[in-house]
Symmetry: C2
Subunit: 339 residues, 2 copies
DNA sequence: ATTATCAGCTACATCGTTTTCGTAAGTTTT
DNA sequence: AAAACTTACGAAAACGATGTAGCTGATAAT
């Protein structure tokens, strides 16, 4: 069922039917309602490719993320999808699996106009950003969130990551930690170094000397992560507090502590960024800093749609920072100060 | 950059360039390599809408699921995406949020040829399936997974749900449970009633009388779930074992047990279907039946692509059942039998 | 030498919409 | 009553790629 057939049924021209369907002022009320009725009767739906081809508009956005089995990104997708559905947009998902090659391949794929805009959170491996510059050069609206490239002029939506680092570290300090380790993913990831700077700031404020051996980057596969954390926890001068910048590293730490017979929080306290609804049920319950994931998704999508619809790019410097929330639980509980 | 411009640059006709790019035998090797070189130089990419319009093929599939903040569906998406990426397909995501109205709206959206095929897992509320029949009537390849409509002739990929029910229930029985409750979502969901039938079968095999008051459907919002579970656990004749058909209900049970001061596994044992990598770290660690989520995604996608590419629908009766795996942990540990 | 065959290329119709530009009536202005 | 507008519609040209059918010159077959 297409316009041609619809037009024939109605004894009208294709253009008249097309205009009637999009409520043009050129068409009389009577004709419009006749067309609408017939279109409904015959279940006419516009062909999205013909329409997109003609209008040079896809009504689709892409969400490019490292992975999806993850409370944070899942919630972000929820946020994005909620706005997309409101606005009648479609959402394409691309996963980089933390692999820069894939990210580049995806970025190249998206240069051909398939989408009106892109939301992206960088892979762990991403160092070079030529593929992102290329997208910008093609004038494709682009919004980064969470893991952002600092030096690209595009809107960015993040959590208050520096503050996360400060709050997490001070929470550990308040609960008696003296030797606090910082665990994170690749150091070139924005979330890694911003949270690190918060961590360092908190140490400075509390007159604790920073110790580079307590800053551990766990890149690579699962086994390497385990190895790095195990090595840290087996040191004779082992830390008494761990600030894990991502949930997975906190879980690894829990597992290694179990393996080594270390008691949380007695021997070592742990705090992490996490969006899991199970954090409170862990053994012991896990103190977390919760990111406003859904809101990040909504906000980033909202900005993207503004760019798409206004066809203006003076959002370049827009930088949205949403606040996280500390949820204190047993994994950081001080020994004595039981109130 | 389009074919026309490319052709002009090369002093060739549009059709020649088009054919050269798709490696047609009609074009000489020399011309082909010249075209390829120029196309690369000018970074030519085919316009997906023009191509889709002409070929009546979108190279896109849709994944329609209830939610995405969920280990199971996240992993499914991983599986789907892995095959889609291999085959050069794009993946559109649609969330129903367990809402039938949304599911219907999405199904209607997808009738216009935007996608070459659809993978779907039903919403909790879905009772009527006219919207699904409509998709079938339009001859759009359709594969259901996990939460399937029993009476629609489309390929279906699921876990061995009946067996899950049997294994879960017998595991509880083996660990000493006498009064086992079954917690699930809406009764019209396939995963609810198949797992139920496994539960009932296990009871029968073990000569335990079934008790309808121990079968609890937790539909609706979070508060209602809490209420239903709380009511169950406050009964004087409270169950000593819980088989939760989905992870969320096990979490709710943990929370309510905490609230009521019930000890797991001493007072009550719990087993659930779950794909969380945190199950082992809960307090107590949670016995789970793990679904092969990634494989379900891959398998369902593989079937879908076969349908799309062969343009044949004699897969109608295809029914793939993948096996789950029991991971016994402390939440179901018997009192004495410590081996 | 004449026809058949073939490689290699081009012209053109097509996919289904959108939109610009006409145009024929009817309506208002002077 | 002629000129100037409106109103309501239609013809046709895009949008960009694909594929059929046709054309040309050259080689092979008779």
């Amino acid at each position: 069922m297409n316009l041609k057939q619809l037009a024939k049924e109605l004894n009208l021209s294709i253009s008249t039917v097309s205009k009637a369907l999009r409520d043009s002022h050129e068409i009389s009320i009577g004709t419009k309602s006749a067309v609408l009725a017939k279109a409904k009767e015959l279940n006419y739906q516009v062909n999205p490719f013909a329409s997109s081809l003609r209008k040079q508009k896809s009504n689709t956005i892409a969400v490019v993320i490292p992975e999806v089995v993850n409370g944070f990104f899942g919630r972000v997708i929820n946020g994005v999808e909620s706005i997309a559905q409101e606005k009648g947009y479609h959402v394409l998902i691309y996963l980089t699996h933390e692999n820069m090659q894939k990210e580049v391949a995806i970025a190249n794929l998206l240069q051909n106009g398939r989408v009106d805009g892109i939301m992206m959170s960088l892979s762990e491996q991403t160092t070079d950003t030529a593929h992102l510059e290329a997208l910008k050069a093609k004038e494709i609206p682009l919004v980064f969130f969470d893991r952002i490239p600092e030096h690209i002029d595009s809107p960015k939506v993040t959590t208050d990551d520096v503050n996360c680092g400060i709050v997490a570290t001070e929470h550990l300090i308040e609960n008696g930690c003296k030797r606090i380790a910082y665990l994170s993913m690749s150091p070139n990831l924005s979330i890694s170094y911003t949270r690190l700077s918060g961590y360092l700031e908190a140490l400075k404020r509390n007159k604790i000397k920073e110790d580079n051996s307590l800053i551990v980057y766990c890149t690579g596969d699962e086994e390497q992560k385990n190895h790095s954390v195990r090595k840290l926890l087996k040191r004779k001068n082992r830390p008494d507090g761990i600030f894990a910048s991502v949930e997975k590293l906190a879980i690894t730490t829990y597992e290694i502590c179990g393996e080594l017979g270390l008691k949380i929080p007695e021997d070592i306290k742990i705090i992490t960024l996490s969006n899991s609804y199970m954090a409170g049920l862990l053994n012991p319950s896990l103190t977390t800093i919760v990111q406003p994931a859904y809101e990040i998704g909504r906000e980033a999508a909202a900005i993207l749609f503004r760019m798409v619809e206004k066809r203006r790019h003076h959002f370049l410097l827009e930088r949205t920072v949403l606040n996280s929330k500390l949820v204190a639980r047993n994994s950081t509980k001080a020994k004595r100060s039981r109130k």
